[in-house]
């Protein structure tokens, strides 16, 4: 999934070469384990050449980073759709600053959605049909609580995806968005209650660890359990 452009290459080169080699090796050693399951052969002549893959049936295959990034792309589609709908007619009680920042967040989520769409290219899932029928967009508390849910769930999804990433460049890209989602989460949470910007006790169900001040982190299966009710399009989720 790494882009063949000079910027990507320059950035990749900036990270430690020796670490990169160690990781390449670990991936290679890991591949030998796959042989026991009859997936691939470790004879180097038989390592399959990369054949172009085109995603035609909204497949999210968690076997590799493409699936992981498609999963993130699906979540970004939900988030962007939420803020597009919410900001079209924000509750009257929203302050000018809240309106400004909600519009910012909408634009960030659109940027994320469009970025992943472009980054994944033909391997991307399609444009999903999203359903927010359970959310009352005229009610300020309902809008803030929904935003809060999406942002905290987003951070939890990103943090877990970063750790699952096989490619280091993808890892960095996901981490670049994860902290922006965390900034959103802190802002939205603090609109509900001043101390909620990092209330890790409250966030324990999403995997937060208050004792060690570690943020939320949730496996894709758990995230999708909560997110799938917003997605009407049928997704083909495999190797989860």
């Amino acid at each position: 999934m790494t882009k063949n452009n000079s910027e990507a290459i320059a950035e990749k080169d900036s990270f430690s070469i020796s670490n990169m080699q160690r990781r390449q090796f670990l991936q290679f050693a890991g591949a030998s384990m796959a042989l026991t399951m009859g997936l691939i052969s470790c004879k180097k002549e038989e390592i399959p050449a990369t054949t172009p893959y085109i995603n035609t049936d909204n497949t999210i295959d968690f076997k590799d980073d493409t699936g992981l990034l498609n999963y993130i792309y699906a979540l970004e589609q939900i988030e962007a759709a939420f803020y597009v709908k919410a900001t079209a007619n924000l509750p009257a009680s929203f302050t000018p600053t809240q309106v400004l920042f909600f519009n910012d967040i909408k634009l960030h989520e659109i940027a994320h959605r469009e970025f992943f769409k472009r980054f994944l290219g033909v391997t991307a899932i399609g444009v999903l049909e999203i359903d927010f029928s359970g959310i009352d967009f005229t009610d300020a508390t309902a809008v803030l609580n929904a935003a809060r849910t999406f942002e905290d769930l987003g951070v939890a999804a990103y943090n877990d995806a970063i750790v699952r990433c096989k490619n280091d460049y993808n890892l960095i890209l996901l981490s670049q968005v994860a902290t922006v989602e965390a900034r959103h989460a802190a802002f939205v949470c603090s609109q509900v209650s001043a101390l909620s910007f990092a209330d890790l006790t409250e966030l324990a169900p999403l995997g937060a660890d208050a004792t060690n001040a570690l943020d939320v982190m949730l496996a894709p299966g758990k995230v999708l359990e909560q997110a799938s009710k917003y997605i009407k399009t049928k997704l083909n989720i495999i190797n989860l």
Partner: protein, 308 residues
């Protein structure tokens, strides 16, 4: 099967010339494996081999790179903890009563990170850096009135949190494949939450040049109407000397005002004309690598205690 194993070793040698030395005592195990191949289940061999390699590379090599990474961010943990702790204990009148619980949470979470990092370094067989006391630091870069002016205090805190978040991001690849990666990732989104909270508090004070400061790292804005200040220069702290915190690593493009990610321009992407330079830059945070992190951190560390 023996042929295949040799292929693996051969491939390994291409990326790690020292593979045979690294295997160390396992070389005899490898020979044994090659010799007894016919006697054990063929299917079991690749698994054993894989386990052996995982052990060789994941556990038996001293993980000095990870230890160095964690010790770097540990210094930033002390930098932040001492800053909040001093305000809460030495100059408590600085902080409005209503904000005390917020600053206390920030202080306590930084202490928790110090504890987690210290334990992680010890678990890796490393030596955690010695405690850095308040006296090691110089927090006057935003303004010398940092202990008497709450706005200066908050602005300084924002910079420390933003620096820390970028610093963690710059260490993630080094930590890839280790259990500490998840810890670092989960700390770095906490630092982002801290920054967002503090940036809102600065915004509320409506300080000149910062009237449109965002919870997210952004470009400079006009105080009059909040429009993007173009051309894009500097950083949204509006303090030039703090540029290393928000700027590039030498030779790279990772300035916080960057709008092109992985070669994809975010300004106007997908026909969204409202996605101007400001929101495009805000939508991605940027990593910062070790050398620049040290340069930026040393802005806040006194001579004699600086990171080298």
């Amino acid at each position: 099967m023996n042929m295949n194993i040799l292929n693996i070793i051969e491939e390994t040698e291409k990326v790690d010339g020292a593979v045979y030395e690294r295997l160390g005592p396992r070389r005899s195990a490898l020979k044994h494996l090659l010799n007894v191949g016919q006697k054990v289940s063929l299917a079991a061999i690749p698994l054993s081999l894989s386990t052996m390699f995982q052990k060789t590379y994941s556990q038996t090599t001293p993980n000095t790179a990870s230890i160095d990474s964690l010790n770097l961010v540990l210094a930033l943990g002390y930098m932040q903890f001492q800053f909040y702790n001093n305000a809460l204990t030495a100059t408590p009148a600085l902080i409005p009563v209503a904000d005390k619980p917020i600053i206390t949470t920030l202080r306590d979470q930084e202490q928790a990170h110090i504890n987690v990092l210290t334990k992680a370094i010890t678990d890796l067989g490393g030596t955690p850096r010695a405690l850095m006391p308040y006296a090691n630091f110089d927090y006057t870069r935003v303004n010398a009135n940092v202990t008497t002016n709450y706005g200066t205090f908050l602005r300084t805190a924002v910079v420390l949190e933003d620096l820390s978040e970028r610093a963690y991001k710059g260490q993630l690849i080094t930590l890839m494949g280790t259990p500490v990666l998840a810890t670092a990732v989960r700390i770095h989104t906490i630092e982002a939450r801290h920054s967002a909270q503090l940036r809102q508090m600065v915004n509320k004070l409506q300080i000149a040049t910062l009237k449109y400061l965002r919870p997210w790292v952004s470009i400079r804005r006009n105080d009059a109407d909040g429009s993007d200040l173009l051309p894009i220069t500097g950083n949204d702290s509006m303090i030039g000397v703090l540029n290393p915190v928000y700027d590039i690593d030498a030779g790279l493009l990772n300035r916080e005002t960057k709008t092109i990610q992985a070669g994809i321009e975010l300004i106007g992407i997908g026909g969204n004309i409202n996605l101007t330079a400001g929101p495009a830059a805000e939508s991605f945070d940027e990593y910062l690598l070790t050398a620049t992190v040290k340069t930026a951190a040393n802005l806040f560390i006194k001579t004699g205690f600086q990171l080298t």
